[in-house]
Symmetry: D2
Subunit: 293 residues, 4 copies
């Protein structure tokens, strides 16, 4: 398929490479230049403008947040202005519910198609085509995109015809992961201050009743106090908690654990942790206890 790919960050670069390897005719664009070298070596075209990335049957966006996605979508010569009628915008970024609704309306008005397909997975899963994709939007359009999703992920789940629903599922999932980080942080602070070996504890937990990747990855990072380099940076985690809480406010759903996580992330950033992995939230409990790995 001839398509564009916009956003070549930690996640997007690996995803785009998988699409090229799968035989797609890809035009890649990134706002800050110099990110497409390895992709053009694989056979991708470098688009010098957003418009150049919008000449195919579909364009995928993988951007940091609402602001970045808005700068691509609503620029003068941007995605909505230049994407052909009937072409598909596949938004894979973690954006807000409100912004996803705004995109949906703008595409409808412009005669274009829009689906949301945010992903779960860290950069290594993006690079190896092992993402989990949560898709929502018109069913026929999603079906048309399945070959792309198959190249990017290990599984695609569809959560209905309203694109924003996929964004809400994604945000709720990051809330659940952040809750795992904080709960592990408190458990490890407790165990560690009791004098039990933190790594042995995590090894036991995650080889038995908490035998899942999230507990393993976060448990190990927290037990070692190793929060650099960031696979998913704290400001991004904070953003997703804020967006989940913004949706919860609109729907009038109090989320006390969400509020706790919000305050933990805000503290981490206030204390200079913007460069750390979001797992660093799991180190605050030990700090409160006057202890740590």
């Amino acid at each position: 398929m001839k398509l564009g790919f916009i956003g070549l960050g930690h996640m997007g670069a690996g995803m785009a490479a998988n699409l090229v390897r799968d035989g797609h005719d890809l035009s890649v664009f990134n706002r800050s230049p110099g990110r497409s070298g390895s992709l053009t070596a694989l056979g991708a075209h470098e688009a010098r403008t957003i418009a150049e990335a919008c000449r195919g049957a579909a364009v995928i966006t993988m951007l940091a947040d609402d602001d970045a996605a808005g700068a691509i979508a609503f620029a003068d010569e941007g995605l909505i202005a230049t994407l052909p009628k009937g072409a598909i915008h596949i938004s894979m970024s973690s954006i807000s519910v409100a912004f996803s609704k705004r995109l949906a309306q703008a595409h409808t008005e412009a005669g274009q198609r829009y689906i949301a397909a945010p992903v779960f997975g860290r950069p290594d899963m993006a690079a190896s085509g092992k993402l989990f994709i949560i898709a929502a939007g018109d069913a026929a359009t999603i079906d048309q995109c399945r070959p792309l999703f198959d190249a990017l992920g290990q599984k695609t789940s569809v959560i209905g015809e309203e694109p924003w629903a996929a964004n809400l599922v994604k945000l709720s999932g990051n809330f659940l992961q952040a809750a795992t980080i904080e709960s592990l942080g408190e458990a490890i602070a407790l165990i560690g201050k009791a004098g039990i070996d933190r790594r042995a504890y995590v090894e036991i937990l995650t080889s038995t009743v908490f035998n899942s990747p999230a507990y393993k990855i976060f448990g190990q990072l927290i037990a070692e106090g190793k929060f650099e380099p960031a696979a998913f940076a704290a400001p991004l985690g904070y953003k997703d908690i804020r967006l989940a809480l913004a949706a919860a406010e609109t729907l009038r759903v109090p989320m006390p654990m969400g509020s706790l996580l919000h305050d933990r992330f805000l503290r981490l950033l206030a204390q200079g942790g913007s460069h750390l992995d979001w797992a660093a939230v799991g180190g605050l409990a030990a700090q409160d206890a006057g202890d740590g790995p």
Copy 2:
């Protein structure tokens, strides 16, 4: 091995059965009578007193809480008074760190051996011999008990030579599970009030990035609002959160998520939920939102 088994509740009955089936010579005791019928049918002996269950090389206790365990251990003709010197008390109950230390000292003074081996798993896992066992205590004694553990569980993990360490690991694990319940409760409240199908949401989550038994079991119960019958009753969950927080107080480790869970459980009980599964804590977020499954 000739051994005793005290405590034939939801968990203990299945565990004792597995030991009998594995060929052990088991004397079983329960404080309230009438619980041993199916076990004697399998070949177990019914002990009419604690002392009768304490005549072998080891005795296993599987009791509800510190009070129940204390009533067995420190009764006039109780476990500590009657267990032979050198025999082993394998305490598999979820008891407090402080009470485990007290047991350790009492057994040492009485010339007996004591290991703690609390378990993770719901009654169905107890019945099928699939528990996860966390053991701590003298290494040689634990080795001697391995055949018993192999009959009871799918894996035994050793966390050191201090028995209380196993109890703390167990309590921390139940804290982590309770955190999963609450976080799922908030996420499902959010998703549900947005109009997304709760079961489809849980199905998607738990077939992708949260593909673990805890998320599946609790997610389904919360999505359906189905909290009866209780596999693990709310008062037991509350007890374990309290014991985790009691250990945290002693060690001076603030656990804000633990405090949140404490208040959730206390509310559930105050509002009449003592008969419900502890997953019912996950229904409070929807109640706060004026919504629910």
Copy 3:
């Protein structure tokens, strides 16, 4: 002084009356009509448009929130478009820090003067001229407005030259009052469920160590469970907590008690309490306890 007054709600109506009684030549305006009858009877002029209220040396606004204030300030024939150069906008509404900054900039660009002067006090204090006024802005301009403030309040405090500072002080004050409501709610829930008479308790507290109007007013309302009619409605309290937290987010200041209050208000509104006094947040603790007055 010839001046305008915009916003004749529970607070504004009483304030405007005091200015008329003090001899000022007042043109009053309210977006929804029919609120100026008693004021014109006192001698005020009814302005039929915003512009008509903006023909004097100053105009006071007393509006519900940022949206209402924005609709007055930034309308086509609105306050900023029609206020004469050099005239003063005295914004007494509880608005956000961000919106206050936006107003300041717009007035500067239009050659007008702007001070913020939000107030503490319930409608009865507005009617009796007993408000506490927190002012910020150019010192000479504030001095010029002092006769107005003297007619409206019992005391005016100046917190610097940046108008937004007064808004932040006001928001922080409402946060402190909301914290008083919640803490009283928890204390009264505890005392009441213990069987102690709630009113006697509040009477003792507030005649001794908590001898201040806030504890008396809120304590009595909570002890009696009497939250109607609303002197200050729950949605307004919620708005102010949100604005305080929005400022705290921008400044990166985690406020866990603020987050708790946020979730309490959100729950009150989600459960149908929009018509209640904000003191109704103080009734939630008893509800959690399965009890109440």
Copy 4:
């Protein structure tokens, strides 16, 4: 009146002095010696044993906590063993509800009378006879003690015939004060990081809508970050929050603000703040914000 006074700490020393000055025949006792010099200079007798302080019509105890009160009451030659039948024990310490009930029962069994009369006020108020006294117990007994209370405090309030009720009121009052500390801490952290002068802010708040001693005292300490010397030490504040929460647990009353305060105090102690005034809890918000006075 001939009476004993046990417990000559920061509070008790000043209280005992007022009783001597009021003409009472006082035998004073303190477990650690060397505290009675100034009192004997005023005319008090030094009791060398608890029993010597228990020879009058009444004995007042003013001790740090349940443990200290228990060591006096239940010692072999202690208060309950030696107080004459019909004599009155006036317990003015901040003790737990459970321990107050235990004392009541022990005194009844010993044929003695017991009332609880805990106080609000810092050491300077104790020294100047300006305490607020909350009394509960048999009405006639309380009447008999009124001359003593008049010498000690500015007002005595009676909250019923069950002594423990006075203890619960006292604990709830300290919870309310701790909530004031934390809320002021968050407000001052917000204001301070915004660049507004902290002392000017507190001055404005407490000369207007928060014109009460608690806001003045705590606001000033927090604005200045001045937490030494301690007028009321953090471990005592922590103790009272724990006792309030213990009563709340027994009564099944969730207190989320209480839990937040509990975790704040635990953190303060874990981080080495045991020597600080309890107002130091109000400094944690600024620490979280990476800022401070």
